[in-house]
């Protein structure tokens, strides 16, 4: 039994080592913050909060605006409730298959996303996931973090993505 564990740890280390090499090229590195054993625990109990928090904190980068049509967006004003309601409906129809507002699911939890990402990044990720997943360092890291599940392109327009952003602002 002990032997198996050792072997497992060895195998995981190897996998991480090769992953790490890849990530260096992309200049993103957060995987080393997770011990191989923890990874296994996380797989068994995905709802354990610490792992989620750790992931969320690891990627904080508010200066990255992502790649796509949205270059600058100011969301400091008062919340436009009507727009947020539209966003809520859109989120339900186009995003809820993979995102939950109360937990990490197939994709990340959007609650508190603007503490981790710029609003421009969020909009570009929604509108332009293919290119983001190819070129944006955070998107690339998240793809690996989320077991290789690519963000689906749901043909969301820029206007609709803006409404979704407004809805995300209301999430506490």
């Amino acid at each position: 039994m002990k032997h198996t564990h050792k072997l497992l740890i060895l195998m995981f280390s190897f996998v991480l080592f090769s992953c790490g090499n890849d990530k260096k090229n992309n200049q993103v590195d957060y995987s080393s913050k997770k011990a191989p054993v923890k990874k296994e625990v996380q797989k068994e109990k995905p709802k354990e909060a610490p792992a989620v928090k750790k992931e969320a904190m690891a990627n904080v980068d508010l200066s990255n605006k992502g790649i796509g049509p949205v270059k600058s967006l100011d969301i400091s004003g008062a919340i436009d409730q009507k727009l947020a309601d539209e966003g809520k409906e859109l989120f339900k129809n186009k995003c809820s298959a993979c995102h939950r507002t109360n937990r990490k699911f197939i994709g990340p939890n959007p609650t508190g996303v603007f503490d981790r990402r710029s609003p421009e990044w969020v909009m570009n990720m929604i509108i332009n996931p293919e290119e983001m997943l190819k070129k944006d360092p955070i998107a690339k890291a998240l793809l690996i973090e989320y077991n290789g599940s690519p963000m689906a392109n749901q043909n969301v327009s820029e206007k609709e993505a803006r409404a979704i952003v407004e809805y995300f602002r209301t999430l506490k």
Partner: protein, 655 residues
């Protein structure tokens, strides 16, 4: 240094080898072979680039329609039409089963024959493609935005629906002429009393201009001949339709001999505008009939089948001046009209010469009432009065003629396995090229219109023999692509086809490409069992029916754990693909399923029925690979004994 010498030698040797090869090259190539005249380059479509033309080739006994690119000869798609299709679940899913409903019940197979693309002002418009089924007479309409069969209408009083499905200049009508004459209405009678008692129904199916909805406007009940092929007039002859006939002997046995007695059969010229006017004024009679009309709705993603109860029939002798018979030697197969509408070509299978009738001369003979007699009250014109000319001994067994944009015609010869190019007006043979082997029909893109696009021609062959690697006694048939832009035809490519490439329609790609649909919009999905978001996911029991409203997105089902199903239940999986991205369908299959799996397009809902016979926990999964987590796209359904108290429940990740 040594290396350089070596490789130079090798290069020289190789060149010599190729030159040698070229000189002794294939029999279809002139000196030099493929390398010298760059034939390969002419069909090469580089990776990522698009072909310039679409070719829609009927699948014959496969019942379907296949889509190819030209000049590459690559097959892009098989569109299911008259046959169940496991790849997509067409004819297996609850939504598409009604498409194959007929007055004879559910018919999951039929042979498809002649596709024809819709036209506006005599030019191909790329909106719809129509195709006939021969066996259980049906006409289908395929929408070229989605490449899906969206309507099928059964044709009553018809048998062997062969002289179909050709469209008039503005797609006013799709024509469905019977091949076999039968008792109309059907009844129990001695077969040997065929002569004078059997009739041939030529059906004119109107096409509503905006959505293309089909309806049988009228049927002309013709004498008991066999109606082989047909073609609409165009230009000056627009308003007329021409049908080739054989078995004017009205024989019912050993037709191989007995239907080849007469020196001449007929091309029936039908003035449909005249009959339409007669019908619009209340002419014809409604006859009891039973035929299915199946329509697929792209908003509910569901087909409905309606049984119709009567059809309007017209006796041609009631409408004087509407139908004439043009004597044509001898058992003509193809009946083709040139782009100007003046020449009507009868390809007499057993005739040494190719017969060309003149539309102008026909009108003149009618005007002057120069009749040789009549058949069942239909005037027969004199052969000499309508003959424009004939192509003398061009080959053996002429079958089908198409036209380029330079006044030339191309005819296939089945027995002598060749395509012959000849000039309209002078009737002189310009070129001939062998085909490999037993060629049936041929196609020039835009061929059945006023504006053929005369760059390519392809011939469809019945026998493949030694052209490809052997695959046992049965080989796929083949098509051969020729460049016809020059004075001489040039064979460019051989490519295998699926099923029997019976006939084809082709066109420049741009018109279809720009209208092509990429997804179904989720907001427009009005399927009664759609789950348009995860909030709609549920499982509902109605007696022993269980309806599962399920969603898919890369890479999971929701729900993925279902319990409370019992042996004897009829379980409906209604699956909505939530993707809104081009080319991301999801599949679905559950163990022990009696029907085929499903393939669900982005934004679409499809339903599969599963009737579990055994207690257990059974997996279901996605059959279409689209993400790294494809293997993980699965779920379990628990089946309990019939009297089990286990309540219906469902979940995804404990939610």
């Amino acid at each position: 240094m040594k290396n350089i010498i070596k490789s130079t030698l090798l290069l020289v040797a190789t060149s010599l080898f190729f030159i040698g090869c070229g000189n002794n090259g294939g029999k279809e190539q002139k000196k030099g072979g493929a390398l010298e005249n760059n034939v390969a380059e002419k069909v090469y479509v580089a990776p990522g680039e698009h072909d310039s033309h679409y070719a829609f080739i009927s699948g014959g006994y496969s019942g379907n329609l296949t889509v190819y690119g030209l000049p590459s000869g690559r097959m892009f798609k098989e569109i299911p039409v008259f046959s169940q299709f496991p790849t997509s679940g067409y004819g297996y899913s609850e939504e598409t089963k009604p498409m194959l409903n007929t007055s004879h019940g559910f018919i999951p197979w039929g042979d498809s024959h002649h596709p024809d693309i819709s036209q506006t002002n005599g030019e191909i418009d790329g909106r719809f493609i129509f195709i006939n089924e021969n066996n259980t007479p049906r006409i289908a309409k395929i929408d070229l935005r989605t490449f899906e069969t969206t309507e099928i209408i059964e044709v009553p009083n018809s048998a062997g629906n062969h002289s179909s499905s050709f469209v008039t200049e503005n797609t006013e009508y799709v024509v469905a002429g019977t091949r076999f004459s039968v008792p109309v209405p059907q009844r129990d009678m001695p077969i040997k009393e065929y002569k004078g008692n059997f009739q041939g129904a030529l059906s004119f199916i109107s096409v509503e201009p905006e959505h293309g909805h089909m309806d049988i406007k009228f049927q002309i009940l013709m004498p008991g001949f066999n109606y082989d092929l047909s073609h609409p007039g165009r230009g000056a002859s627009h308003g007329w339709f021409f049908f080739s006939t054989y078995n004017t002997e009205e024989a019912s046995t050993l037709l191989e001999v007995n239907a080849s007695q007469n020196d001449k059969d007929f091309i029936a010229a039908v003035n449909w505008k005249k009959i339409e006017e007669y019908v619009n004024n209340g002419g014809g009679t409604m006859m009891p009939a039973e035929y299915a009309h199946n329509v697929y709705d792209e908003v509910t993603h569901t087909a409905t089948s309606t049984m119709k109860k009567e059809v309007r029939v017209v006796n041609p002798s009631e409408v004087p001046g509407a139908v004439y018979l043009l004597p044509t030697p001898k058992s003509p197969h193809g009946c083709d009209v040139d782009p100007t509408g003046e020449y009507i070509i009868g390809n007499g299978k057993l005739s040494a010469n190719l017969t060309v009738h003149s539309f102008t001369k026909m009108l003149d003979a009618i005007e002057n009432k120069k009749f040789a007699g009549d058949a069942y009250g239909i005037p027969i014109l004199n052969f000499e009065d309508v003959l424009a000319g004939s192509v003398e001994q061009p080959g053996l067994g002429p079958l089908h003629t198409e036209f380029d944009d330079k006044g030339n015609a191309y005819t296939t010869f089945f027995i002598s396995s060749e395509v012959v190019k000849w000039k309209l007006g002078t009737w002189e043979v310009l070129d001939r090229k062998p085909t490999y082997y037993s060629v049936g029909h041929l196609t020039i893109p835009g061929g059945n219109s006023r504006k053929p696009q005369g760059k390519y021609m392809f011939a469809m062959n019945k026998i493949t023999k030694d052209r490809y690697l052997p695959t046992g006694p049965e080989l796929e048939h083949s098509a051969q692509l020729y460049d016809i832009s020059g004075d001489k035809m040039e064979l460019l490519l051989d490519f295998p086809t699926h099923g029997e490439p019976h006939y084809a329609a082709a066109m420049e790609a741009d018109l279809i490409k720009k209208r092509s649909r990429k997804i179904y919009k989720l907001e427009e999905n009005n399927h009664p069992y759609a789950a348009k978001s995860d909030a709609d996911v549920k499982v509902v029991r109605k007696g022993n029916e269980v309806h599962i409203y399920m969603t898919t997105i890369r890479s999971h089902f929701s729900p993925d754990n279902i319990e409370g199903i019992k042996v004897g239940d009829k379980v409906y999986f209604h699956i909505t693909n939530l993707e809104q991205d081009f080319d991301v369908p999801h599949g679905f299959a559950v163990i022990g399923q009696n029907t085929s799996e499903l393939l669900i397009m982005p934004g679409q809902t499809k339903t599969s029925v599963w009737e579990p016979t055994k207690v257990g926990v059974w997996p279901f999964y996605c059959t279409d690979f689209c993400s790294a987590l494809h293997q993980e796209m699965q779920g379990y359904i628990r089946v309990s004994p019939k009297d089990s108290p286990i309540k219906l429940s469902w979940s995804l990740d404990g939610e």
